[in-house]
């Protein structure tokens, strides 16, 4: 049972990510902006009110660019944001568009020096003739200011479009993945990156699959996985060789012949891959399902959850309106017991791995007032439609939930519905 605590407007949100403590929530949008929300400290006089998320910082991360060599416009849309673990008072995050990754430092300033000798209060230089005494500037409190500065720009390393970034558990390196290549970076070095996966064939005409997502193992800094458009996942060990074109493990489920259809190939493309917090499992999302794989079993997933199987008979229409190409993400909760992913009509789904129960919820202003409890929704697949159900044909396919995030330790979720962000948390009794 969840209740809504706040929602806000933004342009179309393209990524959502909590930081490692859950204190901060970052969103990126199509306009290249990053908005960071910070959780309020819980106050003593409002014990029953959990901390709400308020805007902490907003900055323009990426601008539209033009590649003159290829006559191509480079979109400023933020594809992914990943936080670095906090190591001092400042916060660091990586944000990326199709071509360039940037490291941003977000820091607070609540004091400023006053009493300069050579400058006046507005910063203008004083006439030296008027200076008759010497004084030491002192730090005085000021209104809190949060500033974001780009500390590193990692550019010109990707020919194709970047789909993922992942910070390594060593906190010194990270990887960026495009359709055909994965590069390893050191945070300190921006003019070089190390190519660790390259699936580009010598002859592009022989290309049959692309990389769709990649992530480092949460604890083993030598291990990472990447998913493909053919529905496969490869686990690679960087200790094995410099170029990890040969995988250590290969996860693929044999195709169910009864499900084979005209669009089988494209709906099997994996749109997101995530390690569990424990590092023992990986979760993948393809167009109709979410699957959980055990790292020790390569021949099939251990769990498969149907997100919206009622769409299986509508694939042709979904191809026509381009919805079949939508890339949904998936997330684990802090304890890896529940998984969540989005669907259409502003619905999102949660699956409890232990009880095998699932629920469909809706993120919309009409249906949820602040602090109201979300009502489970149901899609009627045929036959008689009950009062509260919605029929498949009434679903609004323009309202899609592609990006969601789950707080690392608490039951707080962030759901991006087009240009709105919804934050839901457990109701406290």
């Amino acid at each position: 049972i969840l209740s809504s605590s706040c929602h806000t407007e933004a342009d179309i949100i393209s990524t959502v990510e909590f930081n490692h403590t859950g204190e901060l929530l970052a969103t990126g949008d199509k306009g290249g902006r990053v908005v960071i929300f910070q959780r309020e400290q819980e106050s003593k006089n409002q014990v029953h009110r959990r901390g709400e998320y308020n805007v902490y910082s907003t900055f323009q991360s990426h601008e539209p660019e033009f590649d003159y060599l290829k006559s191509l416009e480079i979109e400023e849309k933020i594809n992914k944001i990943r936080w670095l673990p906090q190591q001092n008072a400042a916060y660091f995050l990586l944000s990326t568009n199709d071509k360039t990754v940037k490291l941003w430092k977000v820091s607070e300033r609540d004091k400023r020096p006053e009493g300069y000798n050579l400058k006046d209060e507005e910063g203008r230089l004083r006439d030296p003739a008027t200076i008759t005494t010497l004084r030491v500037p002192v730090l005085r409190p000021m209104d809190l200011m949060v500033e974001a500065t780009p500390r590193r720009v990692f550019a010109n390393a990707h020919t194709y479009h970047i789909n993922s970034i992942s910070v390594n558990s060593d906190y010194e390196t990270y990887m960026s993945a495009d359709d055909l290549r994965i590069n390893l970076w050191n945070f300190e070095i921006t003019n070089q990156s190390f190519n660790i996966v390259d699936i580009k064939p010598a002859n592009m005409e022989e290309l049959t699959e692309v990389i769709t997502a990649a992530e480092f193992h949460p604890h083993h800094c030598n291990t990472f996985v990447y998913s493909s458009s053919k529905g496969t996942i490869r686990l690679c060990d960087m200790r094995a060789s410099a170029l990890c074109d040969r995988h250590t493990k290969f996860f693929e489920e044999p195709e169910d012949p009864s499900n084979r259809s005209f669009f089988s190939e494209i709906i099997s493309s994996i749109s997101d891959v995530k390690f569990s917090h424990s590092g023992r499992y990986i979760m993948t999302r393809d167009y109709l399902t979410v699957k959980v794989w055990d790292l020790n079993m390569e021949n099939r997933p251990i769990e498969t959850y149907q997100v919206h199987d009622y769409l299986r008979s509508k694939l042709c229409s979904l191809y026509e309106n381009d919805c079949i190409f939508d890339k949904f993400e998936c997330v684990w909760n802090g304890s890896d017991s529940v998984i969540m992913t989005g669907s259409y009509n502003n619905f999102f789904r949660m699956f409890d791995r232990n009880t095998k129960r699932d629920v469909t919820l809706e993120a919309s202003r009409e249906n949820s007032k602040p602090r109201a409890i979300l009502k489970p929704r149901k899609v009627c697949v045929g036959g008689k439609r009950r009062k509260d159900e919605i029929s498949v044909d009434s679903l609004d396919f323009s309202k899609k939930i592609l990006h969601t995030a789950w707080h690392p330790s608490e039951n707080i979720i962030a759901v991006a519905a087009t240009n709105n962000l919804y934050i839901f948390q457990d109701k406290v009794n």
Binding site: E73, K77, E205, E206, T208, E209, F262, F263, I266, F325
Partner: protein
């Protein structure tokens, strides 16, 4: 027949999507292009098998070989046409475009000049191993079979524009259908770009559907 129609519709739709994906911001997306060509290929296979079943009793087949030599020289003249871009990005397994792919790799808009010498070697043999079998026309389709025997390039070769009536190649009927449908779509779509792309594209109606067929068989955009 229903199946054929549906397959045609999907093929036309796919070509349309491919064409328009070039217009979007951020440039051609490799993954999207790959997915579109997969659907295109499936639709084509479906269409062909339906057609083969329908044509089984028939005897005549369009001779593909004689048309080929005629097509090679004029091809090069068209090298800068942006029309060629979707083609260049989806060269067929058959000879012509093999050479272009490496040069086209780093440019999304493929406008490079065609090499003077075009290899006529069928590359299908190199494709048939591994997972690419699906990209090679299956033996089932009789029209293609004949192509293979003659060692000629099929629909792709026809980058240049012989008038529609003369459209040769492996799938003359398909070519005509696509051309008819596609040019109709191009002309009436509200989403059509206001500025006419250079050269040949100014006359989309004249463009042979055969060149559109390149996108049928190729899985990839040459970047």
């Amino acid at each position: 027949m229903e199946v054929q129609k549906e397959a045609q519709r999907i093929m036309t739709l796919s070509v349309w999507k491919m064409y328009h994906s070039r217009m979007q911001r951020g440039g051609l997306r490799l993954h999207r292009s790959l997915q579109l060509s997969l659907v295109m290929r499936s639709a084509r296979e479906l269409y062909l098998s339906a057609k083969v079943e329908a044509l089984e009793p028939e005897v005549s087949l369009p001779p593909a070989l004689p048309s080929d030599p005629r097509l090679h020289p004029p091809r090069e003249a068209e090298s800068t046409a942006e029309t060629a871009t979707p083609d260049g990005e989806h060269p067929s397994p058959e000879p012509m475009d093999t050479q272009e792919a490496p040069t086209a790799e780093e440019t999304s808009a493929y406008c490079g000049p065609r090499p003077a010498k075009v290899s006529r070697k069928r590359r299908s043999s190199s494709l048939s191993d591994g997972g690419d079998a699906g990209l090679v026309p299956s033996k089932k389709a009789r029209l293609e079979e004949k192509e293979e025997e003659e060692g000629a390039s099929s629909e792709v070769a026809d980058r240049l524009q012989p008038p529609p009536a003369q459209a040769e190649g492996a799938f003359p009927n398909l070519a005509r259908v696509l051309q008819r449908r596609f040019s109709g779509l191009l002309n009436c779509s509200p989403a059509a770009p206001p500025t006419a792309p250079p050269a040949c594209e100014a006359k989309p109606a004249c463009r042979p559907a055969d060149s559109m067929l390149n996108v049928l068989v190729r899985a990839v955009v040459a970047f």
